[in-house]
Symmetry: C2
């Protein structure tokens, strides 16, 4: 049965989408069957894998809210072997308001994805930069959560609120939700500020912080233009190697638990 892992952080621009795409690709490269669910109306996972979200007939929105559409109906293969995607588009933004008055609204995504859990080894869910109903749904569905943390002060300041929210979800909605780890992203070891923030994250969260650190490199901004993960766009780059390392570390943490 698949392990479901959410990518969450309400701070914007910390590398949630980039990490979702590249850890998913890293595990697919190892031979695992991987599904990536884009649960952010921005549609970054689709764009980053060469799709045109606004051009799609159907998306995660339809599987979520239309009884006649199942999750399997909206799965699309990607050009990266072993990696499938359920894309999102701007329709998903309406879902957040529509879910407000639904019965058992926090479990809507869980019900939607249930039939796919046997078809994959891993299912990743990319979240929007907020702690609203979409992210709550993702964290209620997930077994684990990966937290990308940009090595800058504002991102560090947001961590307390994020951890509080995760705790609340563990207490009330999903007791088995586990923080699989905190990924330091956009790290620039040439700046004192970057090193200081990374050190403080290590002090505050200890072993929760992955050993693998993702350095800041322009290749990450270029890859989505080509519609590919960095793992294929710049396969031998420092960034690609870092995400392969991270995928291995995610595997270790998940299997030894």
């Amino acid at each position: 049965e698949a392990r479901l892992i959410a990518l969450a952080n309400q701070k914007g621009g910390v590398g949630k989408t980039t990490t979702a795409i590249n850890v998913a690709a890293g595990l697919a490269e190892m031979g695992h069957r991987v599904l990536l669910v884009d649960f952010d109306p921005q549609g970054g996972c689709g764009i980053g894998l060469g799709l045109e979200p606004e051009g799609l007939e159907r998306s995660i929105y339809d599987a979520l809210l239309d009884r006649d559409v199942s999750a399997e109906d909206v799965v699309v293969p990607t050009s990266f072997p072993g990696l499938d995607i359920i894309p999102s588009n701007t329709d998903l933004a309406a879902a957040e308001l529509l879910l407000v008055n639904e019965v058992a609204r926090e479990q809507t995504l869980m019900r939607t994805l249930a039939p796919l859990r046997l078809k994959y080894d891993f299912i990743f869910i990319d979240c929007p930069p907020s702690l609203g109903l979409l992210t709550v749904n993702a964290l209620t569905t997930a077994d684990g959560v990966l937290i990308p943390l940009e090595c800058e002060y504002y991102a560090l300041r947001g961590m307390a609120r994020l951890m509080d929210s995760i705790e609340k979800i563990q207490e009330r909605l999903n007791p088995s939700l586990h923080v699989d780890g905190i990924v330091a992203t956009m790290y620039d070891n040439r700046t004192i500020h970057g090193r200081e923030v990374y050190e403080r994250a290590r002090e505050a969260f200890g072993r929760k912080v992955f050993d693998t650190v993702i350095r800041k490199t322009i290749r990450f901004a270029e890859a989505p233009v080509a519609g590919e993960p960095i793992l294929s766009y710049a396969s031998n780059s420092v960034g690609a190697q870092a995400y392969r390392e991270l995928a291995k570390e995610v595997m270790e943490r998940v299997t030894t638990r």
Copy 2:
């Protein structure tokens, strides 16, 4: 009467908060009376100006939803001369759901800020990275909107959706809302990617893009640690000068319209 300007972009981490703080400070430095309203539950404007949002008795949340609290009650002076702030904290996250079923929900912020319009020359509203009810409220209240645009592909891709949303608000809720301009932020002219995205933004939006470009520099990440705008934290830096230039350009665009 004050000109109200919202900082909006659903893409995360593009420099909304940094631009709100520093354009507000730039105008205060010129002698204008400026108020900054933090309308993002992350509380970045308060943090960036030396406040501890979670420690505050009251915030914008109370003025918005508590009949006995007015906007004037929650205004706090900052250490930057001429600049006041209405801070936010995590309470504001609850406001988005509470507003859903309110009558005339989109005008809640407008009603709240109305008494302050005569006390200031400019009121800036910092928005969260989403197009939900908080941002809709800000755009319904505002006379103008500043759009920070990080010079990277994902941010550029998000612009179509943002402009559509603004258009919808102009048609249905606020016909006088004007796009005051698009600010290129985190620009790194050493990368082809940065230059290409900037060129494409200029092609797509023409004169809407401000002449002033904000370069990428680590000083921006350092300033919030000191709880100051870059204008005082590193007054002679390239970043501070850029925001002074931008404040002048905002003044020109606003007065010549």
